[in-house]
């Protein structure tokens, strides 16, 4: 069976282009970036004084970070070490400073946010289509880049103080 000459040319062309292509890679894994973003948010948000000895970052739903989140555990916020927890039960959620709701829970976002309503918890929703559903921060992908929306009303109601710098960098504020 003779291999179609045109296929060979096409594949050869791609193979030749590949080494040159490697130089183009300036892309990072999505959740490595989102983990860094979560850490960065702590510089722009003020929580009321709390009794917790650690700064709790909780993940609800199918954990997309895996080992990446554990890297956060080496950092501190306002002198308190970051503790990363995978939370499931609602009483736990109230003691979180950051509550990351994974994309798998997009349908249950409402009830999860209800559980922490009024508490100083920075809720971060990780799915497009979760906008305006009550999370303080909603993460989204704009083409190949990360963007986020801020719900200033909910932040205020939760007792969180958001720096104007963060509001300026947000895609939408409502």
């Amino acid at each position: 069976m003779r291999l179609n000459a045109r296929i060979a040319t096409g594949l050869l062309g791609l193979a030749l282009a590949a080494p040159a292509a490697a130089a183009y890679a300036e892309r990072v894994p999505e959740y490595e970036l989102k983990a860094a973003l979560l850490y960065n948010l702590t510089h722009f948000v003020e929580w009321p004084e709390g009794r917790n000895r650690s700064f709790n970052v909780c993940i609800v739903g199918e954990d997309p970070f895996g080992a990446l989140a554990d890297a956060l555990a080496t950092k501190t916020v306002n002198g308190k070490p970051i503790a990363v927890r995978r939370a499931a039960v609602s009483p736990e959620l109230k003691s979180c400073q950051i509550l990351f709701v994974a994309a798998s829970e997009a349908d249950s976002l409402g009830p999860i946010l209800e559980a922490v309503k009024g508490q100083p918890v920075l809720t971060v929703a990780d799915a497009d289509g979760s906008a305006r559903r009550g999370a303080v921060v909603t993460l989204a992908l704009e083409g190949p880049r990360i963007a986020f929306d801020i719900d200033a009303t909910t932040a205020r109601a939760a007792g969180l103080s958001i720096s104007s710098k963060l509001l300026r960098l947000a895609r939408t504020v409502y």
């Binding site: 096409g10 490697a22 183009y24 999505e30 960065n40 906008a131």
Partner: protein, 675 residues
């Protein structure tokens, strides 16, 4: 397409045609200089927020989120899959889905689900939706999955196949399942995208897409595509005689397609406008036509205009409303011997038009209940079938029909306990064709552990007889109408087990049992020897499907499925035609030397044909794709049927041959440029 009456046929002297050779040159500059870019730093937490927002991400590999409102084992195919595996049409996409098998008779592509794929049926037993709009046209209820499908495959964000009876939510045609095609948004394109393709058998395609989004969520997507395929010279042993060009249909397998698509979203409103037109040469001399005549072809066109509005009416109440207008046009030219040494063309037409509206409420107010309720109205203003001989025009059939369909449905998802969910739905439909239908679906979902879920599902669905089955009559004899046809019905029991192994691996096992009654089939009435459609047949299909999926940290993704199924005609006890006993599929995508390789291996077991049986076959497809040739440039090269395997599909009643040979090895080169 679409008729079963027979007319006299006699072999006809061959027409030798010389066709102008067309060469298509595709200039590809693959060695563009890659812009040097800074390597990403090791610790992203060291970067400022502005810097983080400026980085580009490689989208995480994860199992795509299922949005369908259905408690069954849904399969989701994403845009990334479509790119990785080089899928050219919706038919290619569906070939990779668990439990489905696709056949093609060189005119249309047909979808078989769970062992049921009778030749000559027009996909009326699968409901095809695009962004929620019903695509099955209103004359044959066919769902088009080939190049005649409404939307260019590159505009697809995801395809969700929900197996099982869906009439409790969707009504007519949701017999074996519902196919939900969701299109991309303007912000997924974010600029202008140009695409050019060249492929085997003289295929070429061009597409221009523009997408844009604004800060307040307004979104615009516009696209236009054109496709042309010369087609191969095909050899049919059944016609191998000097009088019929020695069995060679020369250049009769051509295909041409054009489509436009527009989607505008703003403030809760979404507007859709789309149209597709496709012309296909028919080389098989179906319906006893003259062989190798260039005039044998079919033309299908479908248009859709729709406006939808979604809003949160109250804190826990979502409201969605939509109105739409659709049109379907079909004509087919069939060439016959006029018995006087010449030929004549017989033309079939079936124009359809329908409009309608839908209102849906999602109510989450009560503790532990998620209530969905809706009303739908559809008015079929035109469901015509027309048939005439041309030159001179002798009208043989001119049926004009119209009708309407009113339905109301309700569904409740009741969380009985933290680990137990009961979903119950019911839909009542009243239609001009088919009368009154009421269909329930009940599912019990038990979350045994965090990682293990069991589902038990029971539901019924129907397919109303279409205008063609009811009213088509050949005045010259051979076929008569049957306005008393009733809808076909199916009752399905299904058991599903889904087991997660961490977030990146999943096993799905599904067992199903389908009882199908009042199946519509063409039979010969002994009283007058005329063909007529009757609700005569019934079938029983049962099977077991197993599917495993895994995403590895290295970036390797795979999905493998195996289906064991048995579908029998209850009258005769025989296996149904075109029902493979086993299906095995593998999709594997891996990063290799800076590019991404996508491998598909699909095994289909032997199937019964109308006259016998045909063997099993395996098809292998390989795609190599790269996104980083240069900024904004994506390229891919695909080989389909890599090992040039000769395989056949069972032919239908309208074909003189028992089986149809499918394409051998073929290829495609594709370039996408965004700016």
């Amino acid at each position: 397409m679409r008729r079963t009456h027979r007319s006299a046929f006699s072999p006809f002297p061959d027409r030798n045609r010389r066709r102008a050779a067309r060469r298509r040159a595709l200039a590809v500059s693959l060695l563009m200089v890659a812009t040097a870019a800074p390597a990403a730093p090791a610790d992203l937490t060291e970067l400022s927020l502005e810097q983080l927002l400026g980085l580009e991400v490689v989208s995480a590999s994860r199992f795509p989120q299922k949005r369908s409102d259905a408690p069954s084992a849904v399969t989701v195919i994403t845009a990334a899959d479509i790119k990785a595996y080089g899928h050219r049409t919706l038919a290619d996409i569906l070939r990779s889905v668990r439990g489905l098998h696709v056949t093609n008779d060189r005119n249309y592509s047909y979808l078989g689900a769970r062992g049921f794929g009778r030749t000559g049926d027009y996909n009326g037993r699968i409901l095809l939706l695009v962004d929620g709009y019903r695509i099955n046209e209103n004359v044959y209820y066919s769902a088009f999955i080939g190049q005649e499908f409404l939307v260019d495959v590159d505009l697809i964000e995801r395809v969700e196949f929900v197996p099982g009876p869906g009439s409790a939510l969707y009504g007519n045609n949701a017999f074996f399942g519902v196919l939900n095609v969701i299109t991309k948004r303007g912000r997924d394109v974010n600029g202008i995208e140009l695409s050019a393709e060249a492929g085997g058998f003289g295929a070429s395609k061009g597409r221009l897409t523009y997408g844009q989004s604004a800060e307040d969520g307004a979104d615009l997507l516009l696209s236009a595509s054109g496709y042309d395929r010369r087609g191969d010279n095909l050899y049919f042993p059944e016609f191998d005689s000097p009088a019929t060009n020695n069995g060679v249909a020369q250049g009769r397998d051509g295909e041409r397609h054009g489509s436009v698509f527009a989607k505008v979203a703003n403030n809760g409103f979404t507007f859709h406008a789309a149209q597709v037109r496709r012309t296909k040469g028919v080389p098989t001399a179906s319906y006893l036509q003259v062989f190798n005549d260039p005039r044998s072809r079919t033309y299908d066109a479908e248009s859709l205009v729709g406006l939808a509005y979604e809003t949160a009416y109250a804190p826990k109440v979502d409201v969605a409303a939509r109105v739409f207008y659709s049109q379907y046009d079909y004509w087919g030219d069939y060439v016959y011997d006029n018995g006087l040494g010449g030929t004549y063309v017989n033309r079939d037409e079936s124009p359809g038009a329908w409009w309608g509206g839908e209102l849906k409420l999602v109510h989450r107010t009560f503790e532990a209940h998620k209530l969905v309720g809706g009303v739908e109205y559809q008015r079929d203003t035109r469901q015509d079938i027309y048939n005439a001989d041309l030159d001179p025009t002798v009208v043989k059939l001119d049926e004009r029909h119209s009708g309407k369909r009113e339905s109301v449905y309700v569904q409740d998802e009741y969380t009985l306990r933290a680990d137990l969910l009961l979903s119950a739905g019911l839909r009542h439909e009243r239609a001009t064709i088919g009368g009154n239908m009421t269909n329930p679906r009940v599912a019990l979902i038990y979350k045994a552990t965090e990682e293990s879920t069991f589902k038990a599902i029971y539901g019924t669905a129907f397919r109303a007889p279409n205008v063609y089955e009811l009213y088509y009559a050949a005045l010259s004899g051979g076929m008569k109408a049957n306005p008393d046809l009733k809808p076909e019905q199916i009752a399905t029991r299904e058991l599903v087990w889904e087991r997660q192994f961490g977030p990146k691996a999943r096993l799905t096992v599904a067992a199903f049992d389908n009882h199908i009654s009042d199946l519509i089939a063409a039979v010969t009435d002994p009283a007058d020897s005329m063909l007529v459609f009757e609700n005569v047949a019934s079938a029983h299909a049962r099977g077991l499907e197993v599917e495993g999926e895994r995403i590895h940290d290295s970036g390797l993704r795979w999905r493998a499925s195996y289906s064991l199924q048995r579908a029998e005609d209850l009258e005769t006890g025989e296996r149904l035609v075109n029902s493979p006993r086993r299906l095995a599929k593998l999709n594997l995508s891996a990063p290799v030397a800076g590019v991404r390789a996508g491998l598909e291996v699909q095994y289909t077991d032997n199937r019964r044909t109308l006259q016998g049986e045909t063997g099993g076959y395996t098809v292998t497809n390989l795609t190599v794709a790269t996104e980083s040739l240069a900024k904004g440039l994506e390229a891919s090269a695909s080989v389909y049927n890599l090992f040039d395997k000769a395989y056949v599909y069972p032919a239908g009643e309208e074909h003189s041959m028992d089986v149809l040979r499918e394409d051998g090895r073929s290829w495609r080169l594709k370039l996408n440029y965004r700016f």
